[in-house]
């Protein structure tokens, strides 16, 4: 039985919104909560007698703690305890207990477990105090003595140590085996490109810093408001790490201030806050600092080499793409970097490779379009280089090698409207007017360039369950332990349920963000609409079935012996299709049947038997204009058109925001963001939002998003594929290609900061 959980304060659409269709650009149902400041995020839930925790981090990258002196810290008035590996509450010691649902192969980091230091910034102590200020002050007084050992954090210096990764990670697929003979084809071809591309480390830096508020109930139950992308994943982690029963722990994430992948795994503030509660027997809140947001997962630094070979007419003869990325010494973080190069263009000879280098740092973690953001960048810049070599329009080159099937998978795409993306995007952008040669356009001190690239991402569907309950007052409550990290889950799920049931939007509540709700997979990989949305629709269809059955049994019912396709649910009523006068309000239906509530549910399991016959994916064509001041090295993206084929769009408004936000990410990847490591110290140094540059408003000009029609019932019963990642993929390559078109110079390292873009000296 799943009813409204009052504490979640689940948002609903404003009264008067009325009935909606799928696809309609409905405003966010959580809009009012967010613009009024009423939406509470993980660190903002009140608790009686709350204790504040501040974490102390290591300053060395490798070694052992010789001693921890916490006396001075404990002397600060208000300080209650300082937890370290020496006095923390008992946790399981087996690495397996720390493995969350999305953990890669290896043994996960165990916070405050022992005296070993595995990376710079590792948590070594938790200061607990009556106020945040006292805890913060005391955190500076913890004295740590280390036995420091030599460390290595430098990927580029260790490329030779690259090894084949252990592939065990949810959602990861190793590169396929070689198709044809790529090296031979390369050797024999007329036109060739061979280039190395490097991409720096990036950190997700969602605006909300990671936080956990552990509220201790009188019965010892822990209710934890935590920042994550799956309350169920974090609940199960806490249960296993601390040996607590499932019923003793609830994890909630009703509002998440961005995550972009960083919340796919539990971060260390969660177990630390639980330790605080178990140690003190009080409710505890731990909030990371912005500096600490650089002390767990990141998008890995990546080295890539791409070799392309083609005939004079542009027909691809060989694609080779190898990538070497970094991981920790604890786990083999894997992501799909190179496989895309075997999916996008028709080619008989394809060789792909992916290797990892173990370094003394924290395990990387998925970050928006993991693997594809870097991998497709390299492929698409190489394609541009090939077009230059061929003296061919880069769009024409893509069309020349267009494929309706995935070459390495040998399967037809279930749907692929990429050609329409190219055509419509080019038309909107005015691509036909592009002068073919670099350095052809100028505006004052700036050179102007136009570039394009293709994007590709999965159409993933995982598993999930949703429950729909129609109440006697006409209100529909739909539930699943899903997450809304800003993607619009609340809105879209409410919309799917309301549209399916023919109810006004404001009469439908979709509650998410509680580990006690029906099982949902992580919110990641652009899978949530295809997964949870399908479960929601399934539950509602089941509910329709139940309602019709009840209606058919009523005395003198016009619905007797009718099937679902002979009736329609609209305006809060059930009616015979085509006969609006033969209808019955759903509330009257429940009243007549003397039902207070009617419940239905649906479990969505992806139909692998069906999907196995198809290649699936979302696609995009990105066109952009840059203006480059080559004296000063500054570049700005003045116009972007992103044409998207991502299945059926559930809500034009939130989907557009997902894509245009992804474009901003792509611009950032191209021009702005990189975490710099001082390898002597093994430490990330620009750990703040002043020196870790993400775009500000002034960096972003006009972004146009257009969706081309696609409806893919292989991808999901809704026809939807998902839009969270595809918006970023290809954008940085388009920017890089535009910089080349502006300046005639090819920058093969991102981000393209002024030192890389400026005219050589």
């Amino acid at each position: 039985m799943t009813d409204l959980i009052a504490d979640l304060e689940t948002p609903t659409a404003p009264a008067g919104t009325g009935t909606v269709r799928l696809g309609q650009p409905v405003s966010r149902v959580d809009g009012v909560a967010k613009v009024t400041g009423r939406a509470r995020y993980a660190a903002e839930h009140p608790a009686a007698d709350l204790v504040h925790g501040v974490v102390v981090n290591s300053t060395i990258a490798k070694g052992r703690i010789i001693s921890l002196d916490t006396r001075k810290a404990r002397e600060v008035p208000g300080v209650l305890a300082v937890l370290t590996h020496e006095n923390r509450p008992r946790t399981r010691s087996l690495g397996l207990a720390f493995k969350d649902l999305t953990a890669p192969a290896g043994s996960p980091f165990k916070p405050l477990h022992d005296d070993r230091i595995r990376y710079s910034g590792q948590p070594v102590a938790l200061v607990l105090a009556e106020t945040f200020e006292a805890a913060r002050a005391a955190s500076r007084l913890v004295r740590v003595r280390y036995d420091e050992r030599p460390h290595d954090t430098n990927l580029m210096a260790n490329l030779r140590k690259a090894h084949r990764p252990r592939p065990l990670k949810f959602g990861y697929k190793p590169p396929p085996s070689e198709k044809g003979d790529a090296r031979a084809a390369y050797g024999a071809a007329e036109v060739k490109i061979d280039a190395v591309y490097t991409a720096g480390v990036e950190h997700h830096n969602p605006m909300e810093m990671f936080a956990s508020t552990v509220i201790l109930g009188e019965d010892g139950h822990l209710t934890i408001y935590d920042k994550n992308q799956s309350s169920i994943n974090c609940r199960s982690y806490v249960s296993r790490v601390f040996g607590l029963k499932k019923s003793q722990v609830t994890v909630r994430n009703p509002y998440v201030g961005g995550a972009f992948g960083s919340g796919l795994r539990p971060q260390y503030q969660l177990p630390l806050a639980v330790m605080g509660t178990l140690h003190l027997g009080r409710s505890v809140r731990v909030v990371m600092t912005r500096q600490q947001m650089f002390t767990f997962g990141h998008r890995p630094e990546t080295w890539q080499r791409v070799r392309l070979a083609a005939d004079r007419d542009g027909t691809l003869r060989s694609i080779e793409h190898v990538a070497i990325a970094e991981t920790s010494r604890m786990e083999d973080y894997t992501e799909v970097v190179v496989n895309w190069s075997g999916k996008l263009y028709a080619c008989d000879n394809i060789r792909l490779g992916y290797r990892l280098v173990d370094l003394d740092q924290y395990t990387p973690i998925d970050m928006r379009a993991p693997g594809a953001a870097h991998g497709v960048h390299a492929l698409e810049v190489a394609m541009d280089e090939l077009a230059v070599e061929l003296d061919m329009d880069p769009l024409e080159l893509r069309l020349r090698n267009y494929t309706e099937s995935s070459p390495t998978e040998g399967l037809p795409y279930s749907s692929k409207e990429l050609r329409a993306c190219y055509t419509r995007g080019a038309e909107r952008f005015g691509w036909a007017d592009r002068p073919p040669h670099p350095r052809s356009m100028r505006d004052g001190h700036e050179l102007v360039g136009w570039g394009m690239a293709t994007g590709i991402w999965d159409a993933a569907q995982f598993y999930g369950r949703a429950t729909a309950v129609l109440h006697a007052d006409g209100r529909l409550v739909v539930s699943s332990a899903a997450s809304d990290i800003g993607t619009g889950t609340y809105t879209v799920m409410t919309q799917i349920a309301a549209a399916t049931m023919g109810l006004p939007l404001e009469d439908v509540v979709f509650q998410l963000g509680d580990s006690n709700l029906p099982l949902a997979s992580v919110e990641g990989g652009s899978s949530h609409v295809a997964t949870i949305g399908s479960a929601v629709e399934g539950a509602c269809v089941e509910l329709r079935q139940k309602l019709l059955r009840i209606a058919g049994r009523l005395p003198g019912s016009p619905f007797e012996h009718l099937t679902l396709d002979q009736v329609e649910f609209t305006d809060g009523s059930l009616r015979v299709a085509g006969s609006p006068e033969r209808s019955m309000r759903l509330v009257d239906l429940l009243a007549a049947a003397d039902e207070q509530r009617l419940e239905a549910s649906h479990t969505l399991v992806s139909n692998m038997f069906r999907k196995r016959k198809w290649a699936l994916g979302t696609h995009s064509a990105v066109f952009c204009e840059v203006k480059v001041d080559e004296d000063l090295g500054t570049a700005r993206v003045t116009r972007v058109v992103s044409a998207i084929a991502a299945g059926r769009i559930m809500n034009l408004k939130t989907a557009t925001s997902q894509i245009s936000g992804g474009v901003v990410w792509g611009i950032s990847q191209a021009l702005h963001e990189e975490t710099h490591s001082d390898h002597r110290l093994g430490r990330f140094m620009n750990h703040n939002l002043s020196e870790y540059h993400v775009p500000v408003n002034a960096d972003i000009s006009n972004i146009e998003v257009l969706f081309v029609a696609e409806d893919d019932r292989v991808a999901s019963r809704l026809g939807a594929k998902g839009v969270g990642e595809i918006g970023i993929v290809g954008v940085s390559a388009a920017v890089c290609n535009a910089v080349h078109h502006a300046t005639g110079r090819r920058v093969r390292s991102t981000p393209m900061t002024p030192d890389k873009i400026m005219r050589p000296w």
């Binding site: 300053t59 925001s657 021009l671 702005h672 002034a698 006009n702 998003v705 002024p754």
Partner: protein, 363 residues
């Protein structure tokens, strides 16, 4: 942030007395607080006592008898930038302020506080790493480390940090004078003597005494430069970022269009705002031509030294000087910030994606 005691002063005398009061540990004035609070949270600044000077006045902007303008130390950066006399007679000051920080910070930060901003060096800010400026004798991590933002001029073997202020670059170019007070009385410090080079005491950014309070910044009469001044800032995003390199340039042209006077200072290149009198003098009497600007840039960067990561800053600074002088000649006040907008943001805005969306029939 460590514990400290707090007192609020009502007059300048109050403030000076409060600072002179006994009690252990260092005492600091706090005004805008935008840098000091940040440093205290990072544990870089650890005052035992703060004296709040926000209520002592000193926020006037008024003409001086000498024909210049006096900027109160506690006038906010935003108020200074939009002050009609500053905008009319010292657009370089407005341009520099508006190219810096964010609107919120400019609303809080004071002119006096801006002079006392500390470097943005990563190592200085991270107490987990050695830094001579923070803890003399620990060593400089930047010299062999990440140095892309570091000095190319005037550095020492102990410190290669740069001064982060935009406003100070303009003030240096204009030859401002800093008014300071202590219990002993008033003192005037020429701007070029206010900030120091690191030498073997990198912990000291300025020549301000520990018992002294900045009361005002005096701008000398320099109306001849108003029509031809530029603040050019090169940074890694369009706004809200510190400079890789910045240039304050101003030209006073005679009736024939020859250079009667020139002002040139660079930011982001040294431990202090880097004014270059030799380059200014070389321009005087010359025609304002690209060749003359190139020569000025050559002079300005003479002796520049790079350290690995920041090698690009030498040619970048050179080009920035040439560009800034050209912009000054053309009367373009800035390349970034509010005064840089007409120059820098010419493209039309075509509406949000929502307006432009292709709303093809949903199947």
């Amino acid at each position: 942030m460590r514990a400290f005691t707090f007192a609020s002063a009502r007059t300048v005398e109050d403030a000076l007395d409060a600072l002179a009061d006994g009690g252990p540990g260092p005492k600091r004035f706090i005004a805008g607080g935008t840098n000091l609070i940040d440093l205290m949270k990072e544990d870089v600044a650890r005052p035992a006592a703060l004296v709040d000077i926000n209520r002592v006045g000193l926020d006037e902007i008024r003409p001086t008898e000498a024909g210049g303008l006096l900027l109160g130390a506690l006038a906010r950066n935003a108020a200074t930038a939009r002050h009609p006399e500053v905008r009319r007679r010292y657009p370089l000051v407005s341009a520099a302020i508006l190219a810096g920080a964010s609107p919120q910070i400019r609303n809080m930060a004071t002119n006096g506080g801006n002079l006392l901003q500390r470097t943005r060096c990563h190592y200085f800010y991270d107490v987990g790493t050695p830094c001579n400026k923070r803890e003399p004798g620990e060593g400089c991590s930047a010299i062999e480390g990440l140095a892309r933002q570091h000095a190319i001029l005037g550095a020492s073997e102990h410190c290669i940090a740069t001064h982060p202020s935009d406003l100070c670059v303009a003030l240096a170019a204009l030859g401002a004078v800093v008014h300071v007070r202590s219990a002993a009385g008033q003192r005037l410090i020429p701007f070029e003597q206010f900030h120091r080079l690191p030498g073997d005491e990198p912990q000291r950014d300025t020549t301000l005494g520990e018992d002294e309070l900045i009361t005002a910044i005096e701008l000398p009469p320099s109306d001849g430069y108003a029509a031809h001044s530029t603040y050019l800032k090169v940074r890694e995003r369009a706004s809200y970022a510190f400079a890789l390199v910045s240039v304050a340039a101003a030209l006073d042209l005679d009736e024939d269009g020859a250079v009667r006077g020139a002002r040139l200072a660079l930011g982001g290149v040294a431990h202090k705002p880097w004014r270059v009198p030799e380059a200014e003098e070389a321009l005087v009497g010359a025609r304002p031509t690209p060749a003359a600007f190139e020569a000025a840039a050559e002079t300005a960067l003479a002796g520049a030294q790079s350290r690995g990561d920041n090698a690009f800053k030498i040619p970048l600074a050179h080009r920035a000087v040439v560009r800034a002088l050209g912009m000054a000649l053309d009367g373009v006040p800035a390349n970034t910030g509010l005064l840089g907008l007409p120059f820098f943001a010419g493209e039309p805005f075509e509406g949000t994606p929502l307006d432009r969306m292709d709303t093809e029939e949903q199947p």
